[in-house]
């Protein structure tokens, strides 16, 4: 069954405020798609438009090719998992799961079969008779998933459903969600501000900021080749060095970074000489080097934080006092690296990304 979701030239305005700027995006059938962005970027508004709680000011939502403009929320083939789960506290677990079938007039015995099957799927058999209040956080989470799946939606909408869980449980639920998605083949649209969740689970991620889609890509591409200053800064840790393009040769771009000198990186954009641009180097790509080698940055160490598998170093660039972060492998952690020490680090031009523009 076609369960693709097409945001067809949608715009959402509340009075003068544009919550979602013109967006055209097709989410494929059976895809695990995430919207990633800080709070207030418009990602929840998109979810509410897909579910039918809001109608776009312009454009249309199409699910499986079908225009949803005149389809009310209770008739759409979507199912939502709410941030606070919104389980019905006055009903038992089984009644919660069967609610969607009950309002569709499905017979009790049929409903029971479905809730039993789903309780097995979420690994909570025999808890149908329990009250919602008797469940733990993770169990409630799974019941919410079961309830949403009971109506056999074509699209499952997840509104930061893991944000209330503790770290261990969150990581566990990530695996489980992915597993359920694989088993059911339903299109998942996942809203989160947690890039870890977006990167680990998704087939594709849309980075959003201030109502605009910044970049839509698979997690690996998004991490390796961010295309906007916002995407590069928001996804993962990054050191941002600003400058003006001084030379372009194929995908190699050199920037004149003022006091930092000439720095070279790679780009996937067509940049012109003289244009403002940013060079991004991730903390893990910076390596210890001799002073004055190409792409080297001279810095003074502020602080070293032991993080287990690596050491995160906070430092300040000599040339312009800008803060940078360097990730050191624990085996490369050398005794002369102490707060206050002056050191040089450099990177390979192929590992640094240059993006046009200077601001987010």
């Amino acid at each position: 069954m076609d369960s693709s979701v097409h945001l067809d030239q949608i715009v959402m305005r509340f009075g003068d405020f544009t919550a979602v700027s013109r967006t055209d995006l097709k989410i494929e059938s059976g895809e695990f798609f995430s919207f990633l962005g800080p709070s207030g970027c418009g990602k929840t508004t998109i979810l509410n438009m897909v579910s039918g709680f809001l109608s776009p000011t312009e454009g249309a939502i199409r699910i499986g090719g079908e225009d949803m403009r005149n389809v009310p929320a209770n008739k759409r083939p979507t199912s939502m998992i709410f941030q606070n789960l919104a389980l019905f506290p006055l009903m038992t677990v089984a009644e919660n799961i069967e609610f969607g079938l009950e309002v569709r007039g499905v017979a009790r015995s049929e409903r029971k079969k479905v809730s039993d099957r789903l309780l097995n799927l979420v690994a909570l058999p025999d808890s149908g008779k329990k009250k919602v209040a008797e469940l733990s956080g993770g169990q409630k989470q799974r019941i919410a998933i079961a309830r949403a799946l009971a109506v056999e939606p074509r699209v499952l909408l997840l509104d930061e459903p893991l944000s209330a869980l503790d770290l261990k449980l969150r990581q566990h639920m990530r695996t489980e969600l992915k597993e359920i998605q694989r088993k059911t083949g339903i299109t998942f649209i996942y809203i989160t501000h947690d890039q870890g969740e977006a990167l680990t689970m998704s087939d594709r991620v849309a980075v959003m900021s201030a109502g605009k889609l910044q970049q839509v890509a698979d997690p690996m591409t998004l991490y390796r080749y961010p295309q906007t200053v916002f995407a590069a800064s928001f996804v993962g840790e990054n050191n941002k060095l600003t400058g003006k393009v001084s030379s372009v040769e194929d995908d190699r771009v050199s920037l004149d970074c003022g006091p930092l000198g000439q720095l070279t990186g790679t780009t996937r954009q067509s940049l012109k000489v003289g244009e403002e641009a940013c060079l991004f180097v991730r903390p893990e790509y910076l390596r210890r080097c001799e002073a004055d080698t190409p792409q080297s940055l001279r810095m003074t160490i502020n602080e070293l934080n032991f993080e287990g598998s690596f050491v995160m170093m906070d430092a300040r660039l000599h040339a312009n006092q800008q803060g940078v972060r360097v990730q050191l492998n624990t085996d490369a952690y050398m005794a002369d690296l102490t707060p206050g020490a002056e050191v040089s680090f450099n990177y390979q031009p192929s590992e640094a990304i240059v993006v046009g523009g200077a601001h987010v």
């Binding site: 209770n74 008739k75 979507t78 939502m80 606070n84 019905f88 609610f99 309002v103 109506v151």
Partner: protein, 295 residues
Amino acid sequence: MFKQLCNRFGTPISVGIAALLLVWLIALVILPQLLMVDYSFRPNLLPSEIGGPKDSYSLVNYVTLFNNKIHLGIFFKTIWSSVMVTALTLVVSYPLAFYLAKVATPKQAALCLLLLIIPFWINEILRTFSWYIILAYNGPLNAMLQALGLIDRPLRFLSGNGGVMVGMVYAYILFMIFPLYNALESLDANQIRAARNLGASWAKTHLRIIIPHAKPGIATGCIMTFMLAAGSYAVPALLGSPGSRWFTQIIYNWFFEGGNWNQGAAYAFLLLILCIGFIGLVMKVFKVGLGDIAK
């Protein structure tokens, strides 16, 4: 608790407050009630006979009601009419309370609440009288309906129960709206959205999610409205007709026209007992506990 009070305000003030409270409670609430209980079990006697051989406790005053078919009829009619008033008030208040709690913006809700409360700054008798004027045979409502061509000749709204019903719904609507509003406001908006999202129609959403959540508020509002309606005197006295007499009017007659306080007290307690019993029954049927109402 008294110790906390002492620590806070000092012993003399605390003892003073407690003493005042006790005096108020005992002298102004409990003793008069006990006096009425005492009255209700004794015969109505001339002052010279009080304390004499005829002055003995009996259930005669209570039995009187059950031997008087007319009074008994009015007694049950009062209960039934109060149930109708309560139901009508609930039907009118629920959409309004839902709008206030879940649909209106804070500004709209504040304005709406203000409009609801302002009329209640006016005395109940005056408000009831204004309904008397509105519903009168030559009143503005009849004039308006005639002007609109909906009726040929004026209707007699004030004969029968209609006037009393309208007056009571209006008089007690706030006692229904506020508990409902409180209950509905505490409902998480995502519960409604979740129900919609799972395919529930608006009717189903109200029936399965919103009303069950608001049940304690509905119970509180209904109990208050029912008690006020059953014990109302002014509204039936002003808007009622001889055919729609309220039991409170009979109690009044025993006290102030028959001069028989003993009989009146017995009638008053019968009304109280029946109301409490009725409420207990309704709470049992709808599975509402006292704890729910106190919320």
